[in-house]
């Protein structure tokens, strides 16, 4: 994801929001879930992942809270805020529209 991550920075943000929309999760959990859901296509690097998490948190789209994991380890769990959910919805719609448009362009040529 190194070179690509710049291009799809916004995409990574959206994907993180999507994973958190299902349930609160810690950083590693997000990474695993992304990998699972993309069937191995996205394996975000820890650095890119935490940069994105930090950005989202700063913008008030997600919130963090320290909790114990199932293995009794302490980890910071992230939750989608109301604002985050709105953003996700909006971006999902926008994404669909753009993807369709791009597909049309590509097919036309």
């Amino acid at each position: 994801m190194d070179k690509q991550s710049d291009i799809v920075q916004g995409t990574l943000d959206m994907l993180i929001l999507k994973t958190l929309a299902l349930e609160p999760m810690h950083g590693y959990g997000i990474a695993i879930r992304l990998e699972q859901m993309s069937k191995g296509v996205f394996r975000p690097n820890a650095g890119s992942l935490f940069l994105a998490i930090q950005r989202l948190q700063r913008d008030g789209l997600i919130d963090g809270e320290w909790k114990a994991t199932e293995n009794n380890r302490r980890a910071k769990y992230y939750v989608l805020t109301k604002k985050g959910r709105q953003r996700l919805n909006r971006e999902t719609r926008e994404w669909g529209r753009q993807a369709a448009a791009i597909a049309r362009i590509l097919e036309a040529s």
Binding site: H26, G27, Y28, A31, I32, R43, N45, A46, G47, F50, L51, Q54, R55, R58, D59, G60, N71, R73, R74, A75, K76
Partner: protein, 890 residues
């Protein structure tokens, strides 16, 4: 707001860096461990797993660094972008920027200047003592603008021994001392103090020690002295071995035991003390033994409250204790008021704060009004400017900028303007803060003033700049970010964008500027008229052509007898000088805070309970009334024949007679002052010796040869036929012929020295006056800017009107009328505001009512004319519009 959030998280990560770092460490470590555990579950060995994770994600510390720096950098980057954009905008429009910054700088300077003065006086009452909030000054009797020391030593000692509410009570008495036995003898203001003086204040000497308890009142062993930093530097070249050396005060030897820190110059605000001697040395310094008497009130007192004790509790306790003392020693307290009152140092009646605390807060209010006006002015400029930027903003909005981003951008621009204004204000204040000194005329008092920009002033300036920036920036920011994007983009440049009457906000700002400047101008007018009335009022003496010069005899070794003989010689020699009309002596000079008081008993007058019989007392030479041209209403004035051997006589003024012997003939009545009885031989016209603005108060005059106080200054009053200033050198020569060693000081015309009596009125009038003028200027610029701008916007409309046959006069009236309507509204609102505001000034006014019709009318007219002139320029320009050009315009 996202800017705030970013600011918040950015600052949080700055301030709580450690905590944030720790959390990030923990989070990333656990991420890496979980990843490694996953690999282990897939069958790798722990070592292999860790290597695999590192291969995929990089080293944990590198990742940490990456994340950490990104957080801060992105914050800084966004801010930097906005800043650069704002700077570019301000640079592109230098005229606007310069006017806005200058306007703000003036508004802020008004505040910082007053604040720098307050900071140096009210807020820092004892330089060199950081914490003065638990210190109170103790007074006796009704609060007075000219209070006298409240305690005798035995009274203060008794209070100090019994009090439970104070951790310490210090007493001191200040007076001039002469540093003798040095190359150039100097008159220095010094203090006799109780032994605990430095301990209660918490002042540590920079060399040696301060007084020991046993040195306080029993005089055993050598006399000791603590010298001030300035004396140490100026007379002893900062000698590091000074402790233990002997110096001379009033020709008595003293052993230096310590040097006070540089900042510390006594505990009376505005008056500088440079020597400290224990009370026990009263006899050495002045040949008296005042500490032995319970009936002589000569000590000022300061108390340090115990922790948790309030001022009121302490006051109640001291009142009770004082009552007990009065009951036990009724004889010593018969003629004096015995009510105790405590004051925090910022409004201590002793020292300069007693006057300043009434003036400075008021000036600060006026300065705040001026700043508000400046904010309204800049807000209207910003608003006008933002109209010109409508397209730019609309394009930004259309290309995806959020409204918040636009507001942030505007606010950053305002902050930039505010901070630029603040910076300029600080530069100006460096100079204006020192201008306080310019108000002080030459004086025999050791007045000191050290206003400068300190930390407090700097901090408040920055805070004020930011608050001001938000105040003037928020409305234009909100207004211009809520554009109907579509219509703005469609609207071609030709269309008319904004009319004055269409923009309530802009009109409101113009009205605000006019009304606020009216308020300030009214205050300026009232203060100026009040000062004028005071200066023109008849003081009861004639100040012109009078030269003053002072000397002090006792430090020079004169006794009562030799001193009186010297005084006679002085009068003889001086009256023989050419150009001298008459000459006399006095122990004070008018309107320079130098008249003394005494407790008197009057024949046939029974004081009310608690009535203070402390009355102004002037000791004067023969021909005093003739020289000062204060006429005698009945009886005679003093002559050479009133000597120690003749009958003791006194003169009183009309106010004295009116107050104590109304309707009676005062001549022949008896007055008792301490051990002496004086017979009244004359009644003089009232003359004002304290302040011109005060009502005439009773004064008793005693002849100098009968009531000789060798410990006090003697001031020569010389009436000349010509310019008194030119006589100075011949007076000095004459005195030096009589005694070459005797220093003559404060040789100045009376008309100069008496300015001290109007010091505070002049400070108030000067400040209020300059605020008023600035306010008028700002309002004029403000209304001009708005009318000129809107007229430019209406060029097309005007062109059409002219094309349809409108006359130039009509166009002129159209534009002028628009501006003038706003001015009228502003004047009405301003008058209402001013009426509400000026009653705060009532106590400071002399001879004018706070609703003085002349002031209100003339200020209103002045402002109306100024506003008309400001509108006239754009109105004239409008009449020159060429319809053809206007219609093709853009």
């Amino acid at each position: 707001m996202s800017l705030l959030r970013k600011l918040g998280s950015g600052l949080r990560s700055l301030f709580r860096k450690e905590k944030v770092n720790r959390e990030l460490d923990e989070e990333l470590s656990s991420y890496f461990e979980m990843a490694a555990e996953a690999e282990i579950r897939r069958g790798m060995s722990p070592g292999e797993a860790r290597r695999a994770v590192r291969l995929e994600h990089g080293h944990v510390d590198t990742t940490k660094e990456l994340v950490r720096s990104a957080a801060w950098e992105s914050f800084v980057e966004i801010l930097w972008q906005d800043l650069r954009y704002s700077l570019r905008g301000l640079r592109k429009n230098l005229g606007f920027t310069a006017i806005a910054v200058l306007t703000l700088a003036l508004g802020i300077t008004a505040n910082t200047t007053v604040l720098s003065w307050m900071s140096a006086t009210l807020l820092n009452p004892i330089p060199g003592v950081a914490h003065t909030s638990d210190l109170v000054t103790i007074g006796r009797g009704d609060r007075s603008d000219f209070p006298t020391p409240p305690f005798s030593y035995p009274d203060l000692r008794d209070l100090s021994e019994r009090t439970q509410t104070f951790s310490g009570l210090l007493g001191y008495h200040e007076d001039y001392m002469s540093l003798t036995g040095v190359a150039k003898p100097e008159r220095i203001y010094g203090a006799l103090t109780t032994a605990n003086y430095f301990d209660v204040l918490g002042v540590q000497p920079i060399l040696g020690r301060t007084f020991l308890p046993e040195e306080g009142i029993r005089h055993a062993g050598a006399a000791v002295i603590v010298i001030g930093y300035a004396v140490w530097q100026n007379h002893f070249a900062g000698d590091p071995q000074i402790v233990g050396k002997k110096i001379q005060i009033n020709r008595h030897p003293y052993t230096v035991i310590g040097v006070a820190p540089r900042d510390f110059t006594g505990c009376k605000t505005g008056l500088r003390t440079d020597l400290w001697i224990p009370l026990s040395m009263d006899r050495d310094v002045w040949g008296s033994n005042r500490p032995d008497y319970r009936g002589i009130f000569w000590l000022n007192a300061l108390g340090k409250l115990r922790a948790g004790v309030t001022k009121n509790q302490a006051e109640a306790e001291l009142k009770l204790l004082m009552q007990g003392i009065v009951e036990r020693f009724p004889e010593d307290h018969r003629d004096s008021p015995n009510e105790i009152s405590l004051d925090p140092l910022w409004r201590s009646p002793f020292g300069i704060n007693g006057y300043l605390y009434k003036i400075f807060p008021m000036l600060l209010e006026l300065a705040a009004v001026l700043l508000l006006l400046a904010c309204a002015n800049v807000a209207s400029l910003l608003l006008v400017r933002s109209v010109g930027r409508r397209r730019e903003i609309a394009i930004r909005l259309a290309t995806g900028a959020s409204r918040k981003q636009i507001i942030r951008q505007f606010l950053i621009e305002s902050l930039l303007l505010g901070l630029l204004g603040g910076t300029a204000a600080i530069v100006i204040t460096v100079w204006t803060s020192r201008s306080l000194g310019a108000f002080f005329p030459p004086s025999t008092l050791p007045l000191t003033h050290d206003a400068h920009i300190d930390q407090r002033v700097l901090f408040v300036t920055i805070a004020v700049s930011i608050v001001a920036a938000i105040t003037f920036g928020i409305l234009p920011a909100l207004r211009s970010s809520s554009l109907p994007v579509q219509s703005v983009l469609k609207e071609e440049a030709t269309s008319v964008s904004l009319n004055l009457h269409k923009s309530r906000l802009l009109s409101g700002l113009v009205v605000a500027q006019i009304s606020l400047s009216l308020v300030l101008l009214v205050c300026a007018g009232l203060f100026t008229r009040s000062l004028q009335k005071a200066q023109q009022s008849d003081p009861g003496f004639e100040a012109s052509h009078v030269l003053l010069a002072s000397y002090e005899l006792s430090p020079a070794g004169y006794t009562r007898q030799t001193g009186a003989a010297f005084d006679r010689q002085v009068l003889d020699k001086l009256s023989a000088l050419p150009g001298v009309e008459s000459v006399t002596l006095a122990d004070f000079s008018p309107l320079s805070f130098s008249i003394h008081t005494d407790y008197l008993q009057l024949e046939g007058y029974v004081p009310q309970p608690h009535e203070s019989m402390e009355i102004s007392r002037a000791v004067v030479g023969p021909n005093y009334f003739r020289t000062l041209r204060t006429s005698m209403l009945s009886g005679r004035e003093f002559t050479e024949a009133d000597t120690a051997d003749s009958q003791l006589v006194a003169v009183v003024n009309q106010a004295f007679v009116d107050r104590y012997w109304p309707g009676e003939n005062a001549i022949g009545k008896q007055v008792t002052d301490g051990p002496s009885r004086f017979t009244i031989v004359g009644v003089a016209r009232n003359a004002k010796y304290r302040m011109l603005t005060y009502p005439s108060e009773p004064v008793i005059y005693l002849p100098i040869y009968q009531s000789y106080h060798s410990t006090q200054d003697t001031t020569i009053h010389l009436r000349t036929t010509g310019d008194p200033g030119t006589m100075a050198s011949s007076v000095e020569e004459t005195i030096h012929q009589l005694n070459p060693e005797l220093p003559l000081f404060n040789v100045n015309p009376l008309s100069v020295t008496m300015q001290l009596g109007s010091l505070f009125a002049r400070v108030a009038a000067t400040f209020a006056g300059s605020f008023g003028l600035l306010a008028m200027l700002l309002a004029a610029v403000g209304i001009y800017g708005v009318v000129a701008y809107t007229t430019r916007q209406r060029v097309r409309e005007i062109g059409i009107r002219m094309a349809l046959g409108a006359e130039k006069r009509g166009i002129y009236r159209l534009v002028l009328g628009q501006g003038f309507r706003l001015t009228l509204v502003g004047l009405v609102v301003g008058t209402a505001l001013a009426v509400a505001f000026t009653h705060l000034l009532k106590a400071q006014l002399f001879g004018v009512s706070e609703t003085d019709a002349i002031t209100f009318t003339s200020v209103g007219l002045l402002l109306a004319v100024v506003a008309l002139v400001a509108c006239h320029i754009p109105a004239r320009r409008a009449t020159r519009v060429d319809p053809m050009v206007a219609l093709r315009y853009e």
